[in-house]
């Protein structure tokens, strides 16, 4: 790699969000990845450049889709709640659902599809049991609004919030194996999620799970 290219790659490396970096680190090179709710394609572009993955995306927002396709990424305009059923079983090595689970109409069904379509699923979501949100609710008696969750209750796309503990319980109920799990606080410090998930549930602003069936 030329010094220029290296500098570009370092810049790109820095520009990717911490939670996306955690997801990217869970993915083996040269695999097939479907990114559900891929936004403007930051993760897909990163995985394509640095891990040579064969990446695809689904995105609901038209601006995101156009940004992705304009950047040469294979992304369809679609709705995870309705479009995942079309994909065949085990078509991908990984299916990623990043910061989107809480916006699904039927998150449990979507989770089932992720692990049907992919050998593994990687799911990240904001933890509604983070201490700041708990404190906000206790102190103000109103739905928490924070930097990570900037919406008012009436205009939020996030209709199915859960906590890290909730998610762990759901995985258990669905017979899903949690291969790895990481929580992330607002300073970007990561923490392994333990068996009871007590500390992660209190201190983690976001969580990332690597799952298999």
């Amino acid at each position: 790699m030329s010094p220029d290219a290296l500098e570009v790659s370092n810049r790109r490396r820095k520009s990717i969000r911490v939670d996306l970096q955690i997801i990217a680190d869970m993915i083996e090179p040269r695999t097939r990845v479907l990114d559900v709710g891929c936004g403007d394609g930051v993760l897909l572009a990163y995985l394509g450049t640095f891990k040579q993955v064969d990446g695809r995306g689904i995105e609901l927002g038209t601006d995101g889709v156009k940004a992705c396709v304009s950047a040469g990424l294979s992304v369809i305009q679609g709705d995870a709640d309705t479009d995942l059923k079309d994909y065949p079983d085990h078509a991908f090595d990984y299916v990623v659902l990043s910061q989107t689970l809480q916006a699904m109409r039927a998150p449990k069904e979507v989770l089932g599809h992720l692990l049907r379509i992919g050998q593994r699923a990687i799911v990240s979501f904001p933890n509604f049991a983070h201490w700041r949100l708990r404190w906000y609710l206790v102190r103000n008696g109103r739905m928490p609004v924070s930097e990570a969750l900037p919406y008012q209750w009436y205009d939020t796309p996030n209709i199915h919030f859960c906590t890290i503990k909730d998610f762990v319980v759901l995985c258990r109920e669905m017979g899903i194996t949690i291969e790895r799990s990481v929580s992330l606080d607002q300073r970007g410090v990561t923490r392994r999620i333990g068996a009871g998930a007590f500390f992660a549930n209190l201190l983690g602003e976001h969580a990332v799970f690597l799952l298999s069936q």
Binding site: V69, S70, S74, Q77
Partner: protein, 393 residues
């Protein structure tokens, strides 16, 4: 084996048609879907740009119902710019400095490729209704023969809108190994009942014209201009949207201050449609209109694959990019989505975007900068995967 270009053309038109022609003799028959072997036929085509050394930069543009191979103008009959001049040319989205762009007049057409107005070698008279019914599959197989003739093994991109998009899908289904990337625009995996219905109105208008002469008008020195014009007027409405008609014309009157209380073209929209009809008959053959609309009606890619559209694409390695437009009610986004869902079902490499436009079905032919920008991005990505050199910024 390029023939003298006037060999299969009617005497009036042959000298004025520029471009390339290839003739396939009796030893190279084309087995049509209707079961008949078409022998002795010609394909007229245009090329723009140059084929690179490893023949990896060929782009096939598939034209729509009333389009032709003259993607870039001036059009030899009308003198107007080409139908996709906006898209194709040096430095444009389909950059002829980088790509070898190829467009052939479709089988059944009327701009030099064998169609009902060309001479039937067996009789020396125009084919008229003796020409077997042509399908989209036939059009695509004829194009494949053209590629064989040109020594082009596989295409970097096959692209087209409407009927052109049907050809793109057919290409991807029939010759997956010859299509690196496919861009079906404003199209569908089958022609809907509503679309067949509109085509039938057009055909009936042509056939109701006494000058149609049971299809034999060329031999009798007549032209069913009135019928063809009405067919075009009906079809033209389906290419627009209520919003675009309202924006362009509203209820404004044509060259008058008050209603005439008669049946002259009081409204601008009437005058516009009449103009569309009248200018169309100068450049299009009525029987061609019958054959090509029939080909579109017959198009049903799922039916060719056991009723499951996904089966048409099983195992495909082609990179797809499907586009639709919000106000297109002839080929609505819902139809595009069916194609996308079928491609998802075989885990194909597919992109899909819908563009906001009030220009109806015709949007793909018009100035839609966002559409061109996103398409450029897709082509850049595909070129990178193909190992083609990047655009010079």
């Amino acid at each position: 084996m390029t023939v003298p270009r006037n060999k299969t053309l009617t005497p009036q038109e042959a000298p004025s048609l520029p471009g390339h022609f290839v003739h396939f003799g009796p030893e190279r028959p084309l087995r049509l879907d209707c079961g008949v072997d078409l022998t002795d036929f010609t394909i007229a085509y245009q090329t723009y740009g140059a084929l690179n050394e490893d023949k990896s930069n060929a782009v096939l543009v598939c034209h729509a119902l009333t389009g032709d191979q003259y993607v870039i103008g001036p059009h030899p009959v009308t003198g107007k710019p080409g139908w996709w001049e906006m898209m194709v040319g040096p430095g444009k989205t389909l950059d002829t400095d980088r790509y070898f762009v190829l467009c052939a007049n479709i089988l059944g057409g009327c701009m030099g490729t064998t169609g009902p107005k060309e001479l039937n070698p067996a009789t020396g008279r125009p084919w008229a209704l003796d020409l077997p019914v042509i399908t989209v599959g036939d059009m695509v197989r004829a194009q494949a023969m053209l590629l064989d003739h040109l020594g082009v093994e596989d295409l970097f991109v096959v692209i087209g809108g409407s009927l052109g998009g049907m050809q793109v899908l057919q290409w991807a289904a029939n010759f997956p190994e010859r299509v690196f990337a496919a861009v079906p625009i404003a199209t569908a995996g089958h022609h809907t009942a509503q679309n067949i219905a509109f085509h039938e109105v057009g055909r009936q208008a042509i056939m109701a014209d006494p000058d149609w002469c049971g299809g034999d008008y060329l031999s009798q020195g007549k032209r069913p201009h009135r019928g063809l014009a009405v067919a075009r007027m009906t079809a033209h409405v389906t290419y627009l949207s209520e919003a675009s008609l309202h924006r362009k014309f509203g209820r404004r009157l044509q060259d008058r201050k008050a209603l005439s209380y008669g049946f002259d073209a009081d409204f601008q929209v009437e005058s516009y449609l009449r103009h569309q009809g009248i200018t169309f008959v100068d450049r299009f053959d009525a029987n061609s209109y019958l054959y090509i609309t029939r080909a579109m009606d017959y198009f049903d890619l799922a039916a060719e694959h056991g009723g499951v559209l996904a089966n048409a694409f099983r195992g495909t390695k082609t990179r797809f990019c499907v586009f639709s437009f919000t106000s297109d009610w002839l080929f609505p986004t819902e139809e595009a989505r069916k194609v996308v869902h079928a491609l998802n079902a075989v885990a194909a490499n597919v992109s899909f975007a819908e563009f906001i436009s009030d220009k109806g079905h015709d949007a793909f032919l018009l100035d839609e900068p966002e559409f061109r920008r996103v398409l450029s991005g897709f082509l850049e990505g595909a070129a990178e995967h193909r190992g083609l050199p990047r655009a010079i910024p």
